[in-house]
Symmetry: C2
Subunit: 413 residues, 2 copies
């Protein structure tokens, strides 16, 4: 038996309907904020991703050589493709350009619980504007999506990459050392981070202050620990998020997101119901366009882990509308089959979702099947009644059954 | 500047909204017929496609070796993955199992007008039932989709693979030769087909009769040329399609679809507006499950070329709902920005799609921008009015403007 590739999934109808419902809710909220959908190819020139994330990224992605000798890769994320598209074709559009996207991404890694080689991301980018109001616009969209999809418990943590960068720099760390230290701080690996800071020549005092700030999480008041632009910036964002009624926002100066292209504010969102693997969204302000051959353009964006967000919803007892169909048409005998095809056609032509018995089940099996597909009403076509111009219609929930003239079937729906 | 890979496309918002709209219409119609969505991975084990289409298919697809040494391929079509999924996990579901899917497919070929390396397919399969009523169910879905999306001129051509197979066999062609001859007949390359029939030992008379039947296209009456099961089968399908009011159906005994796994009825749909490359849908009854390690299961399905169908609609002057946004909030001066953020938040919290000026445009540029994004109303927040608890609301279509109390803004939408 041929299997699906390792780390990938097939989705049954029940699952797909749930996913499409969630996707629809996310789209609705993006539209409410004036973000519009774009799409890019499933694969890109590999260079796009090595430029963004360094050559080592190749170890973690599906990269291959095509028949024409081109290095291509299945996209591991959607920000780089969106920014490439912007540089190639959208850079003269009015700004800020507000876009969202939804689609598959791929990573080559050992499959584990909740992590797949093919996974789904919903993301948004606001391109060509900077400042707290832009960051707030993007974070409020991310948070409003979580609210709209009905996630009960989620937390927003906001940091600013400038805080630690500035502290590291003024304490004597070199431009080369800073990213190496930030990587460790981002992962909250404080011992390794301290070692790297020591090696970079920082004093014990500086190291302890920096670790203290990294560990600082709390309400807006913790901003007192820092000074300068970052403080004002974060206060403003806090204020705008407040207009949307979000009180689940914390300042977390340890959010660093480990990637060089972030330029200022960074944020993450968690769903505590997921336990250790609780992060469901990450984003911040960045500039990537200059890497791809465009002019430097400040942007803010986020990516939501679609699969993990769905998992969080399900753990909270998320209910999607159950599949149902309005009519199920049943021939009592083979001679009535043709009449059933006609009735089904009429119902469908009147926009009434309709199923029919195509394989000659017995009446009792047909009722069982009608229940299993959650049919609201069964239309039962028997010879005797049909000769009198009638059929029976059974309400599948109450079990009530009545005789209806064929010409009046539509009125029952 | 990094470009997108050759033969792929980026989609702008206008284009995406059109595509999502079309996709939504197709989904709606599938639901009306009781078909439910499934999804499979973007890539599969290469063997899935070589089993279905022979080893030569590798030349036409994106096939590569992953880091674990597995041969994988970007899916060139969606029937094989759907049937693999069925064999792996769905074979004990009640039958017939009616599924549809929508997604990207990939082929490695020279890109040309209207043919892309990444393209989109909408398809449906009805698994586990045979006979004219099943075939008719599937064809009526395909045709109803075309009707529902608003395609004005489309034609359905129905054939039966059994007719030519039976004629070739009874005229003396061997089981090995039949597929080679059918390939040529399918492409309407009659000279080569004749040569192959001659080489296979067929008489001149037989060859001329077979070519005559292949060229037979017309109304139900042309079935008089043939006999046996195929004739009865096609008549019945014709009759059921008639219940749906489809009078754009022709019998075309030359529809062969060149692939071995088709077992009976085959059909194609054309949009004449596309000229030479007019085919927008193809399908038929087949059995693939036994190739993938399952039990032989008769099925009927089709694939719609999404890109080509959209192109046909556009050539006919298809109009999609134009993008619009309900509100655009404008600060007359910088001091009013915060009030604008608040008003925008209130509108969005009331589910009113809202954009706002985040970058400090002048008033006249803001009006221009509001028109360009098709904003229905502009909410203009000026210091003087605001001090009196008011804002101005401008109807962007009529140009009428009125002063409204802040507490009553929502009532304007």
């Amino acid at each position: 038996m041929i299997q699906k590739p390792r780390g990938t999934r097939d989705f049954r109808s029940d699952e797909m309907e749930k996913r499409r419902y969630l996707e629809k809710l996310m789209r609705e909220e993006a539209a409410l904020f004036g973000f519009r959908e774009i799409a890019t190819p499933i694969f890109e020139n590999t260079e796009l991703f090595t430029l963004k994330s360094g050559p080592n990224v190749i170890d973690e992605i599906y990269a291959f050589t095509d028949k024409g000798g081109r290095e291509i890769a299945l996209r591991p994320e959607l920000t780089a493709p969106a920014m490439r598209f912007f540089v190639n074709e959208l850079s003269s559009e009015p700004r800020p350009l507000k876009m969202f996207y939804f689609g598959q991404c791929f990573r080559y890694e050992r499959p584990q619980s909740g992590r797949y080689r093919e996974f789904f991301q919903f993301g948004a980018e606001m391109i060509g504007s900077a400042g707290p109001q832009s960051d707030a616009e993007v974070i409020s969209l991310a948070a409003s999506i979580m609210k709209h999809i009905g996630l009960k418990d989620y937390r927003i943590r906001i940091g600013h990459i400038g805080v630690l960068r500035e502290m590291l720099s003024s304490s004597g760390a070199s431009a080369e050392n800073i990213p190496l230290i930030l990587q460790k701080l981002d992962k909250k690996e404080y011992e390794e981070a301290s070692q790297r800071m020591e090696a970079a020549g920082l004093s014990k005092d500086s190291i302890s202050t920096i670790i203290d700030v990294t560990e600082t999480v709390g309400s807006i008041d913790v901003l007192e620990k820092i000074k300068g632009d970052a403080r004002e910036h974060l206060s403003k964002v806090f204020q705008i998020l407040n207009y949307y009624g979000f009180d689940n926002v914390e300042i977390d100066l340890g959010v660093v997101r480990g990637l060089d292209y972030y330029t200022g504010l960074v944020f993450e969102m968690d769903a505590p119901v997921l336990g250790a693997e609780k992060q469901i969204c990450g984003g911040g302000s960045y500039s990537l366009t200059e890497l791809f051959g465009g002019e430097k353009t400040f942007s803010t964006g986020f990516g939501i882990g679609f699969d993990r967000t769905l998992l969080a919803l399900e753990r909270e007892g998320f209910e999607t509308p159950k599949y149902e169909i309005s009519a199920y048409v049943i021939p009592v005998s083979d001679t009535m089959k043709d009449e059933c095809y006609k009735i089904a056609a009429d119902l469908r032509l009147s926009n009434i979702p309709t199923e029919l018995d195509l394989i000659g089940r017995s009446l009792s099996k047909n009722f069982k099947y009608a229940s299993s597909i959650n049919a609201k009403k069964a239309v039962i076509v028997g010879e005797k009644e049909f000769a009198e111009g009638c059929v029976s219609i059974r309400d599948m929930l109450s079990g009530e059954q009545k005789v209806v003239k064929i010409a009046e079937i539509l009125q029952e729906f």
